[in-house]
Symmetry: C2
Subunit: 422 residues, 2 copies
Amino acid sequence: MTSEDIRNQVFTMGKQARAAAHALTTLTTEHKNDILLAMADGIVANESTILEANEKDLDAADELGLTDAMKDRLRLDSDRVAAIADGIREVAELHDPTRGIIKDWTRPNGIRLVKKRTPIGTIGIIFESRPNVTADAAALCFKTGNATILRGGKEAIHSNRAIATALDEGGKKAGLPDHAIQLIPFTDRESVQHMCEMDQWLDLIIPRGGAGLINAVVAMARMPVIKHYDGICHVYVDKAADLDMAEAITINSKCQKPSVCNALETLLIHKDVAAEFSPTIAETLSAKGVELRGDEEFRKLADLDTVIPASESDWTTEYLDLTLAVKIVDDLDSAIAHINEYGSHHTDSIVTGDEAAADKFLLEIDSACVFWNASTRFADGGEFGFGAEIGISTDKLHARGPMALEELCSYKYLAFGTGQVK
Amino acid sequence: MTSEDIRNQVFTMGKQARAAAHALTTLTTEHKNDILLAMADGIVANESTILEANEKDLDAADELGLTDAMKDRLRLDSDRVAAIADGIREVAELHDPTRGIIKDWTRPNGIRLVKKRTPIGTIGIIFESRPNVTADAAALCFKTGNATILRGGKEAIHSNRAIATALDEGGKKAGLPDHAIQLIPFTDRESVQHMCEMDQWLDLIIPRGGAGLINAVVAMARMPVIKHYDGICHVYVDKAADLDMAEAITINSKCQKPSVCNALETLLIHKDVAAEFSPTIAETLSAKGVELRGDEEFRKLADLDTVIPASESDWTTEYLDLTLAVKIVDDLDSAIAHINEYGSHHTDSIVTGDEAAADKFLLEIDSACVFWNASTRFADGGEFGFGAEIGISTDKLHARGPMALEELCSYKYLAFGTGQVK
C-alpha cells in the first residue's frame, strides 16, 4: 500500500465511524445489549479461527523480539477466548449511562432545562500487545453508543483481525450498525498519525500502552487524548499511624499484585515512627522477596544489608515488580510535597489515626485517588463498583481515575420551551 | 529578549503557577471571596493608570491595523473599568464549586468513597483584543482555585499589564498567593508555543479568539485544550410548527443580538409549510434589515428580489451579522442530517407541535444545546442560571456548552478506610 492508500483508507474509516455514531444514537438499550450478546456468541463461534490467527502471531513473536511476558499477554487459548466472550456478556449486564439525566431544572421564564448524558460520538483506541483489548474496548464503547476505530499493534494483528471479524459477524446477526466497530487492518505507523489528524471524525483518542506510544499520540493528536500514564503510587505512614495497620496496607499495596498500576512504588515514613516501623517493615518485605531501595536514613534504621541506596530516579520509577523505594520524611508537609512532585497523580494513601492529618492529605494531594487507611490496590473501577473500566486516567480533564462507562459519555443541554424569546 | 530568555521566563511562570495551585487548594471559600473583593478594589484604585495604559494601546491601534469594531472592543473608559470591578464582585457572590461532593457511597467492604470536586490546577488563557478578559478569566479561575497564566494580544498589552498589576496589588492586600494570577508581560508569538509545550505545569489551555488562534494552539498543545469555536446555529421549522411561534423564534434568534455565537445563522423550513412560511418570514426579516441567502426553492417561494442565491459556503458561515442562510428541507431527517453535517455543534432549535418529532431532534442532533420551541439566544451560562461563564465550549470532552465555574473544576476520589486490604 502507498502512503496515499493508507491515508485514504484511514480517513474513509473516520467518515464511516461518524455515520455509524449517528446510527448508534437511535438504538435502544435493549437492542444494544442484544447486539453485545450476539458479539459474544460470534467470539465463541469463531474460536478456532481466532486461535489459528493467534498461532500466526505467536510464530512471528520471536522475530519481533517479544519477551516471554509479552508472549504470555499475546497468547490465547480456549479459556482465554471464553473469557473474552464472558467479558462482553458482562458489559451487556451493566447499566446503560447514555440515557441518564444529570440535572433537570426549570428557569423563571418557564424553560425546562435537562442536562442529559450522551455518547461521545467516535473514539479511537490505539493499543499494544494484548488482543483481548480489541473486544473489551469495542464492547465498552459500543455499550455507550460510541463508534470505535481500533488500531492494535503489529505483534497481534492476526489475532486482532480475527476477533474484530468475529465481533462483526456475530453483532450483525442482531443488527450491529455498519462500521460501528472498525479495526484498522494494517499496522503501518502512518495510520496512527492519520488517526491523530482526523479531528473532524474522531472525538477522542485513547492510547493504551507505554509512555512512548502515549507521548507520540499526544504530540500528534488534534483531538482530546485521555492518557493512562504510570502509577507511581505512595503509602505515607504518618506519626499517628497504627503501625500494624500501616504494615498490612504497605504489604498489600506492594505485594498483592505488583505488576499493576495501582501497586505501591514508594513508601514514605514519618521520622517520629521511623525507628520503630523501619526494621519491622524492612524485614517483612524482604522476607516476601521485595527489593528495598532506601534513602540514607531508612537504610540506617532498617539495619539490613540488602537495602540498596535509592537514587533520585527511584522516586519517579514505576517498578511494576517486587521493588520498593522508601524514604523517611520530616513531617506531613514533606510527604505531601514529595508525592505531588515525584508521583504520577494516580493513587496515594495515608495511614494515620489523626483526622486533621488525613483531611490535609486528602485535600492537598493532587491525585486521582487519595485514600485514608486503605490499600492503594482499591483504586479500580471494579472495586469502586463501576463495573468494567477502560483504564485509570491520570488526566484531570473529563475522566480522572477509573474510567468506566459514564466517562465514555459526554452530555448535552436540552431546552423545552413554549415559544420563549429573549 | 532572546528566544532563550522568552522560553526561560515562560517556563519559570509555569513552575510558579504549579506552586501557586497548591497554595490555592488550602484557601477557604471566604478567604477567596475576600481576595476577589480586594482585586475589584485594586481595579478601582488603579483606574487612572489603567486608562493611561489603554490610551497607549489605542494610540498604536492604527499602526496595528485594527478596525473600528476592534478599537471599540479595546477601548476602556471610566464606566468600563467600573464594570470590570463589578464583574469580579459578581464572581465573589457565586457559589464555590470546589468543595462540592459529586457522589458519596460505601462499598460492601466498608470503604466509604467520595467523588469530590477539586480545582483543575493550572490554566493557561490565550486571548485576543478585549482587555476585560484579563480580569474576567482571572476571577473565574481564581474562584475555582486554579492558578492562571494569561497571555493577551499585542494590541492590548499595556491595558492588560495595568489590569494584571491592579489585580495583583489589590489581591495581595487580602492575601492573594504569589503567582496565582500571572500575565505574560510580552507578546512574542513564541510565548504561545512555550505555553503549549509545558504540560508538566499547565493542566489546560483555553484559547479565546478566532479560528486561527484556536487551530494554532490545538496543533501545538500537549495538554488538553477547550475550544470555543464558531456558533453556526440553526432553527428548524417543522411541518407541525406553530408558524407564529416559528416567526417569533426566528426573528429573536437572528436579530436580538446578531454579533454573538448563539445567534441564528441558518434557517431550515419543512417543505410542507414552506409555501406559507417563506414569504412571511422573508418579508419580516427583510424589513428588519436582514440579508437573506436562500436555496432555489426558498428564493422561489419567498418571491423577493432581495434574496441572494446561497452557495455551499453559506451553510458553514458564521455571519455574526444581519445575514441569514435559508434552506427548504424535505423532512425532519434531512434537517437533522444538514445540521449535523454543516453545523458547529453549538445550538440548534426545532419549532414543532409534534412531540415525536421534537424527541427525535433532541436525541439525534449532536450539539451542545438542543432546544424545542425556544430561541437559540438562550444558550448562555447566565440564561441557564450558572452565573458567569468563560465561554460556550464546542468540545464534547470535559466541558460542552456554557463553561462556567463547575466546568473549571476537576474531581478526585477520596476513600475513607479502616485498614482495608485486598
